[in-house]
């Protein structure tokens, strides 16, 4: 990463551009998205989106390199200093999330090209790329900003564009799924902004760092307590924390394949990051995290979510829905790590943000490719798919093994980290819960593997792989699943720095 930063500095004009990278990360996709409306042509808008999002990925890598080399980056929008103006702050925690979001965004685009041409009517394809770029902008904005209200604005940008993206799905039920997500997402965003309003009422500030220092003086008031509750529940809705997850399965299942890949791998991750930021930075100096018992609530909801999601996933006949419920289960692990509230637990959460993005991206890509070729994702239609589409099924298998948490895959790294974090606490029952929920994952992954490899393909079925544009991205993601599963040191080290950036400033924080 630092080598990457050094490479960037050797480019022409790098010295002039470098201080503005935090804002360019957001502004480039934001301002280039509307250009799609002028282009209108499906192929041209695809090329445009690809160029822009790969640039965004490049910027994210440079930013991560810079943060790891020299620490916190602060950018003042309009040159207004912090409590008055909006400030962007990048530390290890959000630099990691920026890389995850842009990497998935970039790798999904070649995949999207073929998939979208099949699933979305041609006159609407340019809208897909427009919304895709806006969604990416929103997610990057949530991650970068250090202003509580600005976060809400980006939350709305990403949410509104993802409602549109989901509703582009071919199945008419995509509309109801999107509408349901709209209602729940709007509730979540409203709760968040109510909470921010209450904090503003008590402190007169919207800047996160400023709130961090001002809130402890008023943290005994009921207003701040209510603000904390509103913010946690609001973001909990966006990240599909267990009882608030009901919008997720249909939204993922009926969205176009490329959208499922992108949203499943990024949107909930960014919401998890936002909750981490609010709990550990904004409210970090107040004692609310301990006094309200929210840590225990998060641990319990995380564990219940792990089991409930995996259990429901077992009974799904639609593989996309199965993967969606598996996401609910995987979000449970992240929430659990957050509840542990130690550097080790947060490292587990953050490394799982990356690991889950990689493996769920690969799984959704594989199942999207199956849909592209055979036109169905129902379990009974997948008979013998392992012989008809060997590469795609192999990718699904790798992703599935990782969902279970098999050694040599990324899923193992994050679960191992979480088990260790739980044992540090002496919570052996949490460690046991992680192992048992993995057993449930074996069941739902096995159901697909059994049908795919052990059942005979239907009569007359020919061997036909997905097109190259879909195959290469999913093989890359499957490769990453294994690569970072064998070499977990890099990701764990960066996640550890991110966790320290979040928790380091907490006086009562347990290192």
């Amino acid at each position: 990463m630092t080598a990457f930063y050094a490479f960037f500095l050797s480019l022409p004009y790098a010295a002039a551009i470098e201080p503005h990278l935090p804002v360019l990360q957001i502004v480039i996709p934001l301002l280039c998205a509307p250009i799609c409306v002028l282009l209108r042509h499906p192929r041209l808008s695809w090329m445009w989106a690809t160029a822009i999002i790969w640039i965004a990925f490049f910027i994210a890598l440079v930013l991560l390199g810079k943060v790891l080399a020299s620490g916190l980056i602060i950018y003042e929008i309009g040159n207004w200093p912090a409590p008055w103006g909006i400030e962007y702050r990048i530390d290890a925690a959000n630099a990691v999330v920026l890389v995850i979001v842009t990497a998935i965004g970039a790798i999904t685009l070649p995949y999207a090209k073929t998939s979208v041409e099949k699933e979305i009517p041609e006159p609407r394809i340019y809208l897909f790329y427009l919304m895709y770029m806006l969604c990416l902008t929103g997610l990057l904005g949530i991650t970068t900003t250090a202003d509580a209200f600005n976060l809400f604005v980006f939350l709305e940008i990403s949410s509104l564009s993802s409602y549109v993206l989901i509703s582009l799905g071919g199945n008419r039920r995509a509309l109801t799924a999107s509408y349901r997500y709209l209602i729940m997402g709007t509730l979540g965003a409203t709760f968040y902004i109510i909470g921010v309003g209450m904090m503003y009422m008590m402190t007169g500030s919207l800047n996160m760092a400023d709130l961090q220092t001002l809130l402890p003086a008023v943290d005994h008031t009921r207003t701040v307590l209510a603000a904390f509750a509103f913010v946690v529940v609001g973001l909990g809705l966006k990240l599909a924390m267990f009882p608030l997850h009901t919008w997720l399965p249909n939204a993922y299942a009926f969205a176009p394949s490329a959208v499922s890949v992108f949203i499943a791998s990024t949107a909930t991750k960014v919401a998890v990051y936002a909750l981490l930021r609010v709990v550990f930075t904004v409210f970090g100096h107040t004692g609310l995290f301990e006094t309200t018992g929210i840590d225990l609530i998060l641990i319990i909801l995380g564990i219940v979510g792990m089991f409930a999601g995996a259990f429901v996933a077992i009974f799904q006949t639609d593989v996309k829905r199965m993967l969606a419920y598996s996401s609910v289960s995987q979000v449970g692990y992240m929430v659990l790590g957050m509840g542990l509230a130690t550097a080790a637990g947060l490292t587990g959460t953050i490394v799982h943000l990356f690991n889950h993005a990689v493996m769920k991206g690969a799984a959704f890509m594989a199942i999207g490719a199956v849909f592209y070729v055979i036109g169905s994702v129902k379990l009974q239609d997948l008979a013998g798919i392992g012989k008809r589409m060997p590469v795609t099924t192999a990718v699904f298998l790798v992703a599935g093994l990782s969902l279970i948490g098999t050694p040599l895959t990324v899923g193992f790294i994050s679960k191992w980290q979480l088990v260790q974090a739980a044992l540090d606490h002496g919570f052996w029952w949490i460690a046991a819960a992680i192992l048992f929920s993995s057993l449930l994952a074996i069941v739902y992954v096995w159901r697909v593997v059994e049908v795919a490899y052990l059942k005979a393909p239907p009569e007359g079925a020919v061997r036909r792989e997905a097109p190259m544009f879909m195959l290469v991205p999913m093989v890359i993601l499957a490769g990453a699943t294994v690569w970072f599963g064998i070499d977990g040191d890099t990701t764990l080290r960066i996640a550890g720095e991110a966790a320290n950036a979040l928790i380091g400033s907490v006086p009562g924080g347990k290192p």
């Binding site: 503005h20 804002v23 502004v27 301002l31 409306v37 309009g78 040159n79």
Partner: protein, 141 residues
């Protein structure tokens, strides 16, 4: 049907130009008094919507065809965003208006005027587009 309602048509013909003019006043007087881009955009859009209600969406679309509102949506956003980029190119931070003119006071003045103009254009175009989509049920194009 509508051509019988002479009073409505005549009164609206009297009203629409002042509505549009008032929108421009709210737009460009926004930095001295109440108002600004959003309000101005809504007022401007409502002038067109009033016309469409009384004379039909088809007539309104002859005045402002769908491709033009779509173009205006983009132009408005880009006006806002590129003002920020201009700040970058002139050596300031993003959306730093100080560097837009020879002295900061004028810079701030120009900056906010241009940015609010962008907001106004986008809001007006969005209002008209949303109305057209619902009224025409043709998907806006």
């Amino acid at each position: 049907m509508m051509h019988r309602k002479v009073v409505l048509r005549v009164v609206s013909k009297f009203l629409i130009p002042p509505i549009l003019l008032f929108a421009l006043y709210v737009q460009f007087h926004g930095d001295f008094g109440p108002g600004g881009g959003f309000q101005a955009g809504v007022i401007f859009g409502s002038g067109f919507i009033l016309y469409a209600i009384l004379f039909g969406v088809d007539m309104a679309k002859r005045v402002l065809p769908p491709w033009s509102t779509r173009l205006l949506l983009v132009v408005g956003v880009l006006t806002y965003g590129l003002t920020g980029v201009a700040g970058l190119l002139l050596g300031g931070n993003y959306l730093d208006y100080n560097v837009l003119a020879h002295d900061p006071l004028h810079g701030q003045h120009y900056g906010i005027l241009i940015v609010e103009l962008g907001v106004g254009i986008t809001v007006a175009a969005a209002m008209i587009t949303i109305f057209n989509v619902f009224a025409g049920q043709t998907g806006g194009d």
